[in-house]
């Protein structure tokens, strides 16, 4: 069993959509977390054991970076799904992260999730599914 994918998204309609995309990619979804507090609680609950994390940047109670830093430190692949933050900032801060500008095509997002999750889990299986 693979680790779940953490979804942090404060807009529920989007979250539902992304959740559907992640599940369609074959991962369980932890979340969606609507706030940073929820996200940090989820990280703590799972000990940062996620296959990947799909993160919206701006949340109702601030940016997601505090949580992102914890995930990054734990080696969780990060996928930023945001209509807000500059690509530049993110790439500088998290060079290995994938950025999917909102709104993104479901195929692009699921591709990003699978590629990010791959080094962490079974490569071959990922490819077969993809």
């Amino acid at each position: 069993m693979t680790n779940p994918v953490l979804l942090v998204e404060d807009e529920l309609f989007i979250a539902l959509d992304v959740q559907a995309t992640i599940e369609a990619a074959g991962f369980e979804v932890e979340g969606p977390c609507m706030t940073l507090v929820e996200a940090q609680a989820a990280v703590a609950r799972h000990g940062a054991a996620f296959a990947a994390a799909v993160l919206d940047v701006r949340l109702a109670d601030g940016t997601v970076f505090a949580a992102a830093d914890q995930l990054h430190a734990a080696g969780v692949p990060l996928i930023f799904h945001s209509g807000h933050a500059d690509d530049e900032d993110l790439r500088q801060r998290y060079p290995q992260a994938t950025v999917c500008p909102k709104p993104s095509a479901p195929a692009a997002l699921s591709e990003a999730i699978r590629r990010s999750a791959a080094p962490n889990g079974e490569d071959t299986e990922e490819r077969a599914v993809g």
């Binding site: 807009e11 529920l12 309609f13 989007i14 979250a15 539902l16 959509d17 559907a20 609507m34 701006r58 109702a60 209509g83 807000h84 500008p101 909102k102 709104p103």
Partner: protein, 1149 residues
């Protein structure tokens, strides 16, 4: 009378050459014009110095120097005495003084002669000639009279050069004509050419080495003499070599000939030049009574004794060889005439005056001399023997008749003989020793024993002292010693023997004639009958034999020497008729049987009266019988008749006496008239000279007047054209003159000149101008003030200045009024404009700066200083400004400044400024190089644009926010589509549903437009907007407090309300066609908002609670999104939905 001014050595001659030539210029009436013309062409350096001697009015300051100075580049100054002559300078004689030169230094002299007889030009020329020798030049310009002519001779004598103005070009040609008339001028030129001519002359002379040339000339002198002898007939080979060489050189300079050989060729071929050289060789300076002391000696030692001792039948013979123009001969003639007059003896004097120069002789014969020369003649002789005319005087006829002028060469012609006096002054000095030794014996021969020789002051008899004994060594007066005349002599210039022979024959005749006269005399005295020569009136001229028997010679001479009066009775009544008859009939008459009565008896005689040819009569007395002793008785008989005759005689005598005294009175009257006439003439002279002076002054004044006319016309034009109101007042504040512009302020008319300004109305508000004028006229300093016109519409700047006379004194004031109304208005406008601009700049917070790139200095206004935080007293530099600029912006600013400076272009830069309190401000700077400024300067402004920058940043932020929101909306729509896809099979209804929801989202979103409060959305607005499409479908009540919600609540709330409304349309109140009512209420509490949706259910169609449709998912998700709680109740036909929303949705300010 040959004469030199001063003995000269060859050393002096050498010294003079190569020095600065000094040009003496003599001018009188009309001279100013000639002087201007002459000096105007001068270009520096001329190499000459000039001394101008003009006849000036002694009482009038001369402007000559001033006037000349404008016309020439030469320096012109009036001599004050003591100036050392320097080149290229014109010295002018001061009025009332004479001028002399000694050792190259000018001296002022006092005139000895009275006005009218002064000859300043002559005096200066003579002094110049003596001082400068051959470096002297004289120029004689326009003027009346003959001043300068004598001086010209002196200049010429000393080797100088003489120029006269062409008489035709002179306004008054008297002086030039007189100069040219001497035949001694070297050049006669129009004034404009004189300077060039002189320069050329002195250049020629200066450029020639003197010695070699002299030798060359000396080599040719003999040949030249030969040529001259052939051409003219006079031999100059016996003349002094140095003189000859000098004179020849002069001619060469005049002609511009360089070598002696060329000059020799010239005189060979040119007879005129021969003539000119001849005349030059004979240059002579001569004056009346030259060496007056010597002539005084001559008078006392020679002339008076000669007159006293002379034999009655012999003329005194005088020879003046080398007489030149005759002055010397006339001098001697006058002395003799005067001596004769004093002695009362007849003037039996013959003067032979000889010369070889025919031209000079003709002048001498004429006996007419320049009036100036008259000064040399002692006054008593002048009155008696000269006849003055306007500019000249002539020698009176009796004197002229004494002299025979003839062409005679001392050198080659035979001498005169039996001469009583030889006067040969200053001729021998020109002869060389050989010729002198030949001439002196000649004089010895010519003089009778006891005759006198009168030589010039530097001449002597040399080794012939045995022939001539000195009478007065000082005066060079000698007496011929006794001894036979030593003749024949080889006449030095002639080999013609016959002449000598004739002379010898003459001498023989003279000797035999002498003894014959002695014999005759002896015969008459001893053997002839007594005889008597009387004049026509019976005056006894001479008597021979024993006459005492016929005449009574009284001890005193009271009866005179009348033969009639002296005759003894008997003879007395015969002589008178006899005399008259013989005189009238011019025949010999005899009276026989005349008894001459003496005291002792009667002597019968025969008296013959024989008229002689010359008007005298000869009486011869012959006794015709023996002497009859007297008989006393006869006395009585004769007495009556004798008495009658006596009375007749007495009467006659008385009549004669009366006649004589009448004649004498007439003569006296005549004398007086003559002297009055002379006085008049001399006054005339004075007037003439005064006239000349006046004419000079007049000339000067005329040109001064010309200048004044120009200056006056300039002034008048200025007065007429100027817009300045000027009023000139005199010391009493009376109007002297004014400009047209002044009449606008003071209504002055021409007739107001001379009226006090106080009496003139003025358009000024007050009378301060009068106070000022009064003060300034009394010596106060100039004042300036503003005055206003009465109507207040005009403002004038009034300046009151002292009116200064030429002498510097204050004589009145000048008021200058300048209208400044417009200027003041302009000034005010400018001030207002400036104030406005300042205000604008201040209001805009614009700082102004000026920057000089060359030295980095900047000038800042207070705003700029405040911006850059530079103290008001600190001297700012560009570095201080640049230091404040953000380092990131600095290169950009510096580049723009550099560009503006180098290309004189514009500066523009926006930069950040770090202030000391850490604040960062945005500054926009504009600047521009000032065109044509040197050194280059930039001027510009700095504007604080920080607020604008803040606004732009906000807008940027908002744009990003909007962008985010739009993207979010797209994502939301995408999400809704995903959800909707799960519950729809039919694409049409799927699309329809979605479109409605998107429209609802859209209309809700318009509430969150960027205008207004971007983050706040009123709950009432959301409700009203969402339900707006259904307004007609039911009675809708909306009620609740105004509450602002966070914008993020907008979409979920809109979706929720939309869903509820859709359901209501399908199943509830809204679908009832307005029959049922719908209430939407909300309440705000501490824990949030409770929103209640209540509708009349009525015959509500069944909802589909079983299936969890798309709408339900939307509502649930939206409530979750809002973190709210939803409860729905359906009771009593009332469908009610309650949503509990947390307090976090309420927007807190």
């Amino acid at each position: 009378m040959h004469d030199v001014v001063k003995p000269r050595s060859d050393d002096a001659q050498d010294a003079a050459i190569g020095g600065l030539p000094i040009v003496g210029i003599g001018a009188s009436a009309g001279g100013l014009e000639a002087l201007r013309e002459m000096l105007a062409p001068a270009t520096l350096p001329t190499g000459l110095a000039f001394v101008v001697v003009q006849h000036l009015d002694p009482n009038h300051e001369s402007m000559l120097a001033q006037l000349l100075d404008r016309n020439t580049v030469l320096e012109v100054l009036q001599s004050a005495g003591g100036e050392r002559i320097v080149p290229d300078t014109v010295y002018i004689i001061p009025p009332g003084r004479g001028l002399a030169i000694r050792g190259g230094v000018l001296e002022l002299t006092d005139f000895e002669q009275p006005r009218g007889l002064r000859r300043p030009i002559d005096d200066f020329f003579v002094s110049l000639a003596g001082d400068q020798q051959s470096n002297a030049a004289c120029v004689i310009l326009s003027g009346t009279g003959a001043d300068g002519t004598t001086g010209l001779r002196a200049i010429k004598e000393n080797g100088g050069v003489c120029v006269a103005q062409q008489p035709e070009s002179a306004r008054y040609d008297g002086m030039p004509l007189s100069a040219v008339g001497t035949g001694m001028t070297d050049f006669v030129k129009p004034p404009g050419e004189i300077l060039h001519c002189l320069q050329a002359f002195f250049q020629r002379r200066g450029s020639d080495p003197v010695e070699p040339e002299a030798n060359v000339v000396a080599d040719h002198v003999d040949e030249m003499c030969r040529v001259l002898r052939n051409a003219i007939g006079h031999d100059f080979s016996g003349y002094k070599r140095s003189t000859l060489v000098r004179r020849v050189e002069r001619r060469m300079h005049v002609l511009g000939i360089d070598t002696g050989r060329a000059y020799l060729a010239r005189i060979r071929s040119d007879a005129k030049e021969c003539e000119a050289l001849f005349r030059d060789l004979l240059i002579n300076v001569t004056r009346f009574f030259r060496d007056a002391d010597a002539f005084e000696v001559l008078r006392t030692r020679v002339i008076e004794p000669l007159m006293a001792d002379r034999a009655s039948d012999e003329d005194i013979r005088i020879w003046v060889p080398g007489c030149s123009s005759g002055e010397e001969a006339y001098t001697i003639a006058m002395l003799f005439a005067d001596a004769a007059r004093k002695a009362g003896s007849p003037l039996a004097v013959q003067i032979f005056a000889t010369d070889i120069d025919e031209q000079m002789l003709s002048i001498a014969r004429e006996g007419s001399y320049p009036a100036a020369a008259m000064a040399d003649v002692p006054p008593h002789l002048r009155e008696r023997y000269t006849v003055p005319h306007a500019e000249r005087f002539t020698i009176s006829a009796p004197i002229r008749d004494m002299i025979r002028f003839s062409s005679h060469s001392l050198v080659k012609d035979p001498p005169f003989s039996r001469i009583d006096l030889v006067s040969c002054r200053n001729l021998l000095i020109y002869f060389d020793d050989r010729l002198q030794q030949a001439v002196l014996p000649l004089f010895h021969y010519a003089l009778r024993p006891g005759g006198f020789l009168f030589l010039g002051p530097s001449e002597s008899v040399g080794r012939f002292e045995h022939l001539f004994l000195a009478v007065d060594q000082q005066a060079r007066l000698f007496e011929r010693g006794p001894g036979a005349p030593n003749y024949p002599i080889d006449l030095p210039g002639s080999q013609r023997q016959p002449v000598s022979r004739r002379e010898r024959d003459n001498r023989g005749d003279t000797t035999s004639l002498g003894s014959e006269a002695l014999a005759t005399r002896r015969m008459v005295e001893r053997y002839a009958p007594p005889s008597l020569i009387v004049d026509q009136d019976g005056g006894i001229i001479s008597a021979y034999g024993k006459l005492s028997r016929y005449f009574e010679f009284p001890v005193t001479r009271t009866g005179g020497s009348s033969a009639v009066n002296l005759a003894r009775p008997g003879l007395r009544n015969v002589i008178g008729p006899l005399l008259r008859q013989a005189r009238d009939e011019r025949r010999r008459v005899v009276a026989r049987d005349v008894a001459v009565e003496t005291d002792y008896g009667t002597q019968p005689v025969e008296v013959i009266c024989d008229p002689l040819g010359d008007g005298t009569l000869l009486f011869v007395f012959r006794d015709t019988g023996p002497f009859v002793p007297s008989d006393p008785s006869e006395l009585q008989d004769l007495e009556p008749s004798d008495d009658h005759l006596e009375s007749l005689e007495d009467e006659l005598r008385l009549t004669r006496h009366r006649l004589r005294s009448a004649i004498e009175e007439l003569e006296t009257a005549n004398e007086e008239l003559k002297s009055s006439n002379e006085e008049m003439m001399s006054m005339n002279e004075e007037l003439q000279s005064t006239n000349e002076e006046l004419s000079t002054v007049n000339d000067e004044l005329k040109s001064k007047v010309d200048q004044l006319t120009v200056a006056n016309s300039d002034l008048r034009n200025f007065f007429e054209s100027t817009e300045l109101a000027v009023v000139v007042l005199d010391a009493d504040l009376k109007v002297r003159s004014y400009t047209d512009a002044a009449t606008r302020i003071f209504p002055l008319k021409p007739a107001d000149r001379g009226r006090p300004l106080t009496d003139v109305a003025s358009r000024l508000r007050d009378a301060t101008h009068l106070d000022d004028a009064r003060a300034v006229a009394n010596g106060a300093p100039p004042t300036q003030r503003r005055v206003h016109s009465v109507d207040g519409q005009h403002v004038y700047s009034l300046r009151v200045l002292p009116y200064r006379t030429q002498s510097g004194g204050v004589d009145g004031t000048t008021l200058v009024l300048n209208e400044i109304t417009d200027a003041l208005v302009l000034e005010r406008q400018l001030a207002a404009e400036r104030e406005r601009l300042d205000l604008a700049i201040k209001a805009a917070g614009i700082g102004v700066w000026e920057y000089c790139p060359e030295n980095g200095e900047v000038m800042l206004d207070p705003v700029e200083r405040q911006l850059f935080e530079i103290g008001a007293d600190t001297k700012a530099s560009i570095d201080m400004l640049l230091n404040r600029i953000d380092p990131d912006d600095l290169p950009k600013v510096e580049a723009s400044l550099r560009r503006a400076n180098e290309r004189s272009g514009d500066f523009e830069a926006t930069f950040r400024l770090h202030r000391s309190d850490g604040e960062v401000r945005w500054i926009k700077g504009f600047g521009r190089a000032i065109a044509g400024s040197a050194p280059q300067r930039l001027v510009g402004v700095s504007i604080d644009v920080t607020p604008e920058y803040a606004l732009a940043e906000t807008r940027e932020l908002m744009l990003r926010e909007m962008n985010h929101r739009v993207k979010n909306l797209f994502a939301v729509i995408a999400g809704m589509m995903t959800i909707a896809a799960r519950s729809h099979d039919d694409v049409r209804s799927f699309a329809d549903d979605l479109r409605h929801r998107i429209a609802a989202l859209g209309s809700a979103h318009s509430l969150a437009s960027p205008a207004g409060r971007p983050h706040a959305v009123g709950l009432d607005d959301i409700v009203a907007t969402t339900l707006a499409p259904y307004r007609d479908h039911a009675r809708i009540e909306i009620d609740g407090p105004v509450v602002a919600l966070d914008r993020s609540c907008l979409s979920p709330l809109a979706l929720i309300l939309h869903e509820w409304a859709t359901n209501s349309m399908k199943y509830g109140a809204l679908g009832s066609g307005g029959e049922r009512s719908l209430q939407v209420r909300w309440q705000v509490g501490d824990d949030g908002i409770v929103l209640t949706w209540t509708e009349d259910a009525g015959a509500m169609r069944d909802r589909e609670p079983g299936k969890r449709g798309f709408g339900s998912v939307l509502v649930e998700t939206s409530v979750r999104q809002l973190r709210g709680n939803l409860t729905s109740t359906d009771t009593d036909g009332q469908f009610r939905l309650d949503v509990q929303l947390p307090a976090s949705v309420i927007l807190h300010d």
